[in-house]
């Protein structure tokens, strides 16, 4: 049985115009130790999915309307707040996009790591602090014992993200969600953080859900990927398969935005194509049509009349496009 199983998840948020489904009928499984990636432009509902898994949807704004999130046989959409707290940071943890603001400026980084160990593992102050130092060392912060006394403002962005990783992995979670963990960092630091995440995953056996808009990162980090568009799953499958033969025009567009993936895999280089247009407005999210149709060069009349079903290619690969079989 899968470690995490999301079935027909629908998340709605309230806007001035009314209720809009930012996640519309999303289903996927995640196995223990697996690495899965969510890809898509900003505004596709990737981060909402992550927050829903954590039970941290913004109060009074977003909520799970239907569907289930089953973790280790337990439906998280039905779990009590206390139960979710026991899971958060312990069995499921998360690192965020903005390392500069995600740490509390007024506490030392050591305290911020030790805190989560005390909360979930019942360690004493001394034990928690010692382990926090070990974790800092594990995320390759040099001179960890001294740096544990530092405040976030005394560290660079990359170092702060390492601290965030140390916090997230402190309790050896079964799932680590990384929401655009390198977007705010320099390119050279990005590679280091990905290396670190891969190493830590090997050491702790955590499954990783990587949320990104960077196809290059997906190719490097993940085994399987889900392409999201306007709150809907456009395509799901093994990374190699999808990159070699994308079945959804949106996926194809995203891949062609990144030159080096194609050149290494097929050693022939196409011209760079961008995906024209923008993600549709929130009020259009629930409509019964293919939301990508307005940007799609393969669009047919059918695409704007009916939402395409998910068409399977073998056991592992699905795409939600009327013309998936032709492409």
């Amino acid at each position: 049985m899968a470690l995490l199983s999301v079935k027909n998840l629908r998340i709605e948020i309230k806007t001035r115009a009314g209720v809009a489904p930012v996640i519309d009928d999303l289903s996927f499984d995640l196995d223990a130790g697996e690495s899965l990636s969510f890809v898509g432009e900003s505004g596709c509902g990737k981060s909402m999915t992550a927050l829903a898994l954590m039970g941290l949807l913004p109060e009074g704004v977003g909520s799970v309307a239907s569907g289930s999130i089953t973790f280790d046989g337990e439906d998280l959409t039905q779990a009590s707040e206390a139960r979710l707290r026991a899971l958060r940071g312990n069995d499921i943890s998360m690192i965020f996009q903005e390392p500069m603001t995600s740490l509390n400026p007024l506490y030392t980084v050591g305290e911020q790591i030790a805190e989560v160990l005390r909360a979930h593992q019942g360690l004493s102050r001394k034990q928690a602090w010692d382990q926090a130092v070990e974790l800092l060392d594990a995320v390759r912060i040099p001179n960890a014992r001294a740096r544990a006394e530092d405040y976030p403002f005394q560290m660079s962005g990359g170092q702060r993200q390492r601290v965030m990783i140390a916090i997230a992995l402190a309790c050896q979670p079964k799932i680590l969600i990384a929401d655009e963990p390198t977007t705010a960092l320099d390119v050279t630091v990005q590679a280091q953080i990905f290396d670190l995440l891969q190493d830590m995953r090997r050491q702790t056996g955590s499954a990783i859900i990587l949320i990104t808009h960077d196809m290059g990162a997906v190719a490097e980090m993940a085994e399987r990927m889900i392409v999201m568009y306007a709150g809907r799953k456009a395509e799901l499958g093994p990374v190699d398969t999808i990159i070699a033969h994308p079945r959804h025009p949106y996926t194809a567009g995203l891949i062609s935005c990144v030159p080096h993936i194609l050149s290494t895999l097929t050693s022939e280089r196409e011209d760079l194509v961008e995906v024209p247009g923008i993600v549709p407005a929130l009020q259009d999210f629930g409509k019964d049509l293919c939301l990508f149709a307005s940007r799609c060069r393969h669009a047919q009349p059918k695409c704007v009349n009916q939402r395409p079903p998910e068409i399977a290619f073998g056991n592992t690969h699905q795409a939600a496009c009327w013309r998936a079989e032709e492409l």
């Binding site: 930012v22 505004g43 923008i278 993600v279 407005a281 009020q283």
Partner: protein
């Protein structure tokens, strides 16, 4: 998240004034306050003609309570008509409020504009002076000025204005610091505008919204300030103002509390309306701050 809807994002071309007025009108509390405020001002202007009883005349027995003997608000310790005092006193209270606010806006804007425009040692010096004025308790300072130089209305106005400008200076300075770096200021500078023109024709008009809001609040504070000074007896005894009524009846709180509480209520309502209008102006002029 991309929430841009091309149909809704094209704004109609309207003058900033009518747009602000639109916003302001939508604010019920501010609109009601504005109406009451207008009534108070009209009362201050025309009231003395409609109710010509001299507030200094002893018209009846002292301490006649409100409603009794045909005096709506009663009489004070000298048997003077309290309603007459309120109506005739409104003018002075409001004029002192406006004039003192004008003094402090004038000082504050000048100091803040020079500091924010020239930066460097000018800013350093002016901000030190501002800090110096913040250290002196405002009421005590103005008490000292009035005590040493006499309790005439111009001196009271000056004393209130000269101790209350620091907030205006700080706001003006930070607005100037922000605006002086914007492209259109750079452009005017590059096209050879003089410093004076840059300061007063280019930057100042754009710095006005927060200053206007602050000015509205300053009028309220100045009315309160005058009342406080009067309560302590630091006022011109020959000119009736709301504060002066309170000050002259102060010793009789225990015998006839209405002689103090009723003028106090007049001040409270006026200042409350000013503050509500100020809040409305703030929302209307700085719509960016609204989404808090």
């Amino acid at each position: 998240m991309s929430l841009i809807d091309p149909e809704n994002t094209i704004p109609e071309a309207r003058s900033p004034f009518s747009e602000a007025w639109e916003m302001f009108r939508g604010n019920t509390a501010a609109m009601i306050a504005l109406v009451i405020l207008c009534l108070i001002v009209l009362g201050a202007i025309f009231g003395p003609y409609l109710y010509p009883t001299d507030p200094f005349d002893m018209v009846w027995a002292p301490f006649s309570p409100p409603g009794a003997d045909g005096f709506i608000l009663g009489t004070d310790y000298l048997g003077r008509d309290l309603l007459a005092a309120l109506i005739h006193g409104a003018r002075v209270s409001i004029i002192i409020g406006l004039a003192a606010a004008a003094v402090s806006i004038l000082i504050g804007v000048t100091v803040g504009a020079l500091a924010g425009f020239y930066k460097g040692w000018v800013e350093e010096l002016l901000m030190r002076i501002t800090e110096f004025f913040q250290v002196l308790p405002t009421l005590l300072f103005s008490m000292v000025i009035v005590a040493l130089f006499g309790a005439s209305l111009p001196m009271i106005t000056f004393a209130i204005g000269v101790v209350s400008w620091t907030a205006v200076a700080r706001i003006t300075r930070s607005e100037f610091l922000r605006i002086r770096e914007l492209e259109y200021v750079m452009a005017s500078r590059a096209s050879g505008a003089t410093n004076a023109k840059l300061m007063f024709r280019v930057i100042l008009p754009n710095a006005l919204p927060p200053i206007i809001v602050q000015a509205a609040l300053m009028v309220g504070s100045a009315i309160l300030f005058e009342a406080g000074l009067s309560f302590l007896g630091l006022t011109d005894p020959n000119v009736v103002s709301w504060g002066q009524v309170i000050g002259s009846n102060r010793q009789y709180i225990l015998d006839a509390s209405y002689t103090v509480t009723i003028p106090g209520l007049a001040i409270f309502i006026t200042v409350l309306c000013i503050s509500l209008v100020g809040d409305g102006l703030n929302d209307a002029l700085n719509p960016k701050l609204r989404s808090r």
